[in-house]
């Protein structure tokens, strides 16, 4: 047992050292911004998405973000995860138009979207997006939480981080002061004010509450498999814990005669 302890401590030491040396760059990359730590329902091994919050977040995305930001990896059928029924998903999809084709005449044509379609993006490509937004590129949001260090907290801080610039700071035209953004100058105007949206399922419309719903929705678009993953993980961990115990018992049983001969 002492031997085991020693090996475990050395191994943990090496792993911990590796982890420390690794996590350093992640922190360095997030520098420059003021990041608030927020509590999320999807944090931790038992984390889950709150369906009502996801639906509100989707509405906020649709009414506020979707004019500039796409969620290209999400299909309408995925909205079943938000708690919508098949009929509701069909209705949501039908409100969008997608390009299909070519038809028999070789022309591309517009048709109403069906659940199997991806949610259409506002711009056909990055250049179009840049030219419509004064050179700034509104990134696609389907992976945004995974694509930023401490993504959920970062986005929450960014969405609620608009403030008046300090008097010694010059804010150029088309830029806005944001406490969370690296460099504090962001091309995206403040998206959430709170008073200009009425949530379908009657949620709180303070900017903080809207930001929380929106980030929850975006956490889901980034990791739609999260709930399944964590649930599977719990089962796998339980199995492996038991497996560790019985395989340790087997080993002790098999080694009993060798240990005895030594003593």
């Amino acid at each position: 047992m002492r031997k085991l302890m020693r090996v475990v401590s050395v191994a943990t030491g090496i792993v911990a050292a590796a982890v420390v040396s690794f996590s350093a760059p992640a922190m360095a990359a997030g520098g420059g911004g003021d990041i608030k730590q927020h509590e999320w329902t999807f944090d931790g091994p038992f984390g889950h998405f709150d369906k009502a919050s996801l639906q509100r977040g989707f509405q906020v995305y649709r009414e506020v973000c979707s004019s500039c930001h796409g969620i290209e990896y999400i299909s309408f059928r995925n909205f079943a995860d938000l708690g919508y029924s098949e009929a509701e998903i069909k209705a949501i999809a039908a409100e969008y138009e997608v390009t299909d084709g070519p038809n028999d005449e070789g022309e591309m044509f517009q048709r109403a979207a069906i659940p199997a379609d991806r949610v259409p993006s506002p711009f056909p490509n990055e250049n179009a997006a840049r030219s419509a937004n004064g050179g700034a590129y509104p990134p696609d949001l389907s992976l945004i939480v995974k694509a930023r260090p401490d993504g959920a907290n970062y986005l929450y801080s960014l969405l609620t981080g608009y403030a008046d610039a300090p008097s010694d700071m010059k804010v150029p035209d088309g830029m806005y002061y944001n406490k969370a953004y690296s460099g504090n100058l962001i091309a995206m105007p403040q998206p959430l004010y709170g008073d200009d949206i009425t949530l379908a399922n009657g949620g709180d419309t303070s900017p903080e509450a809207l930001a929380e719903d929106l980030v929850t929705f975006l956490a889901w678009t980034s990791e739609p498999e999260m709930e399944t993953r964590k649930r599977t993980g719990i089962a796998v961990m339980l199995f492996l814990f038991v497996m560790c115990f019985v395989s340790y018992g087997s080993m002790r049983y098999i080694w009993a005669d060798v240990k005895k001969a030594k003593a």
Partner: protein, 176 residues
Amino acid sequence: MSETVENQGRRDFIVVATNTMLAVGAVAVAYPLINQMNPAADTLALSTIEVDVSAIEEGQAITVKWRGRPVFIRHRTAEEIKIAEAVSLDDLRDPQDDASRAENPKYLVIQGICTHLGCVPLGQKIGEVKGDFNGWFCPCHGSHYDTSGRIRKGPAPTNLEVPPYAFLSDSVIKIG
């Protein structure tokens, strides 16, 4: 060596338990590794399609792609329906009456895959060969199908298959 018999039994048990759990674990690991080759969610999402048939003129047909294969939808004329219904079942290689093949006799919905060796029969477009029975003709090995898509002549063993479908309304059918 001073183990009691009882103790020995308990400890043998642990080896058996380990091996059993190992086998269970191996099966649990194998499942996702095998299941990943089944159709993915995006493929399954397209396994049912909805088709608006109101735009098909009488006497004309359209081909839609369903699960990667052609489905023929023909808006049959009254005469075609009459011929299809009049055929005696004794004359058929694969006896099926027309009513059991077309829920709504106006629209015939069949898989455009010859039951012989999987070619796509002709007869969809105006001007294409429709075969001796005015239905479809498979150019690969010369199978003739009638206006109900039943095999009448040639090597194919069975009628053109009817895919699972349902009318959602008078003009929209859901295939799959």
